[in-house]
């Protein structure tokens, strides 16, 4: 725990910001402000050129890539990342964790580091960034408001009982590592991916069209949008950045339980005039 500081002593602070997905395109002015002001920036980018670009904004950059290793559990890597950031905060520095996409989406280190910093009495904030999900809606022309859109971590469909609503879009994240429980590899095996396909085949036909999506990270590149039948997914080229997008398999059906009951109050979520709440 930090000791009580005098008014002149430097006070550590932590800000976790999003870099967005594309170099130069998605950084918010506020995130740039944090990066410029930082005493040290821990950068977690998915593209080496993005890492180089962050170093042009603030040369006091530490890449977290060196903390990863093939065969090393990610849990350990993540603990080391958070510990490295916290050590600098305790040393009185303004520390910025710069994470590609959104720092709070599919990113455990920023949440853990911020919680730890706050528990020790330090100021800690998270500033959002443009995530892969945001890019996905734009690149695929998908509006989640139309029929709904459910997001799952892909492995959780294998490890847990999850219900899929096939009248909504289904987006599965981390599909490239689906089924791997070592958390120490870059990609899962075709056999592990086949288990995911088998799980999806419980709800969708084999020929159901799905899309493998990857957001572009450089402004000269294009997003990856590969369409294929569900049954072919296990043999598809997948990477840790791959996301699977599954369109609805059936139209929205009228709610039979509420049919003919008239308008429904959104606030009470019960048919108007049938509110049984105590007076």
């Amino acid at each position: 725990m930090p000791t009580a500081s005098s008014s002149t002593a430097p006070r550590g602070q932590l800000a976790c910001v999003g870099l967005g997905m594309m170099l130069g395109a998605h950084l918010t002015p506020r995130a740039r402000g944090w990066l410029e002001a930082a005493d040290v920036v821990f950068v977690a980018a998915s593209d080496a050129l993005v890492e180089q670009w962050v170093a042009t904004i603030n040369p006091r950059v530490v890449s977290v890539q060196g903390l990863y290793a093939e065969g090393k559990p990610r849990q350990q890597t993540y603990r080391e990342m958070a510990a490295a950031m916290l050590a600098e905060v305790r040393a009185g520095k303004l520390v910025v964790g710069a994470f590609y996409g959104h720092p709070g989406v599919f990113a455990q280190v920023p949440h853990a580091a911020i919680a730890q910093a706050r528990s020790e009495g330090f100021a800690a904030v998270m500033d959002p960034g443009i995530s892969a999900e945001d890019c996905l809606y734009a690149d695929l022309g998908l509006d989640p408001g139309k029929v709904g859109c459910a997001h799952f971590e892909a492995s959780q469909l294998l490890f847990y009982d999850r219900l899929i609503d096939t009248s909504a879009w289904l987006v599965l994240w981390q599909v490239g590592v689906a089924g791997d429980r070592s958390y120490a590899v870059r990609e899962s095996t075709p056999a592990q991916r086949q288990r995911l396909v088998d799980r999806l085949l419980l709800d969708y036909p084999p020929a159901h069209p799905v899309t493998v999506y990857e957001a572009a990270t450089l402004p000269i590149g294009q997003p990856r949008i590969d369409r294929l039948p569900l049954a072919a997914l296990a043999q598809a080229r997948l990477s840790p950045q791959s996301t699977l997008v599954v369109p609805p398999a059936r139209p929205l059906a009228p709610a039979s339980a509420l049919a003919g009951t008239g308008p429904v109050s959104i606030e009470s979520a019960v048919p108007v005039g049938q509110d049984t709440a105590a007076p």
Partner: protein, 90 residues
């Protein structure tokens, strides 16, 4: 800032830039120039000499198993006292 990173930064902020025309004015090596003309991100990264494989943040989809709690010192030891009847080495 390297000319390549500066160029990509501009492209990121100004999507209407004519890449091929802008390349004529840049001091870039032949490999980088060719990779940019081909709009090939992997080739650009290789030409820059940066690592092409990056580790991504992967969210762990299940909780880590918690270490088993040590029984308190005065707790009864429920492990069997008897050694195996047979020596496993025999």
């Amino acid at each position: 800032m390297s000319p390549l990173i500066a160029f990509l930064d501009i492209l990121g902020r100004q999507p209407g830039v004519d890449i091929d025309a802008a390349l004529e004015r840049l001091d870039l090596d032949a490999a980088t120039r060719a990779a940019l003309r081909a709009r090939d991100p992997a080739a650009v990264t290789r030409a820059f000499g940066a690592r092409t494989e990056m580790w991504c943040k992967i969210s762990i989809p299940e909780d880590e198993p918690q270490p088993a709690e040590e029984p308190p010192g005065d707790a009864p030891d429920d492990r069997p006292d008897d050694r195996p009847d047979r020596d496993p080495d025999r």
